[in-house]
Symmetry: C2
Subunit: 299 residues, 2 copies
């Protein structure tokens, strides 16, 4: 029998993958294509707006909208695209652009490909392009044999999800920095973990999901690291993105996951940890298989 | 840059998920429904054959074929269905039924649901119903710090994949036995691992994929266990399904995965192990994310 915890966790997974649900806007979305490759999804209302930029976007064709092929380099695409975004930002109709970050994301069909262009981070949901990040699970098996996990509480002044629980450290992958280096950098900036310790973080998984809300489509993939912290080390508040760290038994962490106190995608990263570390038993958790597949969705 | 190994591994993942590929028969398949729930997929050629059993299967409707709702219990459905299969078996037109096993699989929409009926194992691909199994990775971190893995070589007389490399132990989930008990049973039967040791196997993942071939559609989900074997213990040949065991460094295992010497779904289980145990680095493996998502596909 599914427990209340299982039902709530399944609900969270479905919410974080609501773009895959029957009745989502997926069927009405247009493929966003750059250099003949799909890099994202465009909602119908956004497609109408893009008609105002006929030099930049070709008219919808075969269920897709293509960035004009005359823009034939990373530099040209990025520059012209930024011009469009600046116009939209001035028009002040798109909520997500109010969160303009001046932080550029690389755009490519697949993570391993050469970037086709870059795009302001706050605009990525308008074009449904995949965003990549790094999350680090901090944990330790204590002398009593019990597994405990480090959690961070986000600063009350963070723009997104203020005050919610988070993984030990996490951050977006910025252009030009490796996945491993990003993990080490985030550990230092957010939790004052020196590179000598953070470098022991081991890559173990990715967590991928796609959700949509009134602002757009959010396909995201997080590269997941496990970092067993030494018994004599404690993370501490770094750049002010975190207000406090906790070191909790897994049972307590598990309960917190389904509270409204957890940043949703961080809860998924912890669920992946719980499965990999055998904290969930397939014989007693009826949604075991759905948890695993729900953590690794593609478009 | 993707290495030859990466390309071969990606190719294997795609082959094992070819039902999801563009151009697969998925678009032409009909949903197989029991008690108003989809439990599988029926290929068009099979749909024609089922027309000969109008008392058992309703005519195709809205892209689905339903088992007659007048069959309103597990017992009735299983019995009548078995009658159909026996007829088809006598007609001798369906290759897969030549491998009749007298082994019943439970059929349900999801693993955690109450079974709706049972079906002869060799017929499951005709109805594209998901099959569940258990695979156990045997390994040990040696004194030199190096990770090594136990592999089995299947007996030359096995009906399927004779002589190929396999995980330490594996087997299908039979009706009425728990996942954990199945793992322990298979460890004993195939590798003479006593319950005291096999019971230390830890559930860590599922590996799910769907392939099709000329015989039918094969959605499969394997519950994956990791078992660190003690240094003074060696598995040995049990019921004759295995001819030999090897204890190999991970680099060697990795190379074997992409040789034609490995049973394909077992290679996927090892790929999942390689990722969870940080034997693959996301900064040097361009298909890292595709490997992870390819190992956890749903329909």
């Amino acid at each position: 029998m599914a427990t209340a915890w299982s039902e709530k966790m399944l609900q969270l997974l479905r919410k974080m993958n609501n773009f895959h649900s029957p009745g989502s806007s997926r069927a009405r979305c247009l493929r966003f294509e750059v250099a003949d490759q799909q890099v994202g999804w465009i909602l119908p209302q956004m497609a109408s707006i893009l008609k105002n930029f006929p030099d930049v976007f070709d008219p919808p064709h075969n269920g897709g909208i293509s960035l004009s092929l005359s823009l034939d380099s990373h530099a040209k695409r990025s520059e012209v695209f930024d011009g469009v975004l600046q116009t939209l930002r001035r028009n002040d109709t798109l909520t997500c652009l109010k969160g303009w970050r001046d932080e550029r994301y690389d755009i490519m069909a697949r993570y391993c490909d050469t970037p086709l262009m870059s795009m302001e981070r706050s605009a990525t949901c308008l074009f449904g392009v995949r965003r990549y990040g790094v999350h680090i699970n901090g944990y330790r098996r204590c002398d009593d044999g019990q597994l405990r996990m480090w959690l961070a509480r986000r600063s009350a002044t963070k723009e997104t999800y203020p005050g919610l629980l988070d993984n030990l450290a996490a951050g977006g992958l910025a252009a030009g920095m490796s996945i491993g280096d990003t993990a080490v950098k985030e550990c230092w900036e957010e939790a004052c973990i020196p590179a000598a310790i953070a470098g022991m973080a081991r890559p173990v998984s990715t967590v991928s999901y796609t959700y949509e809300d009134e602002e757009g489509v959010f396909p995201e993939s997080q590269f997941v690291f496990d970092l067993e912290l030494p018994a004599d080390f404690q993370p501490s508040v770094g750049d002010g993105e975190v207000q406090e760290f906790y070191f909790l038994p897994m049972d307590e962490v598990k309960e917190l996951l389904v509270s409204d106190d957890f940043k949703p995608n961080c809860a998924l990263v912890v669920l992946d940890f719980l499965i990999r570390h055998s904290c969930i038993d397939p014989d007693t958790e009826p949604y075991y298989q759905e948890f695993v597949t729900g953590l690794h969705q593609t478009l």
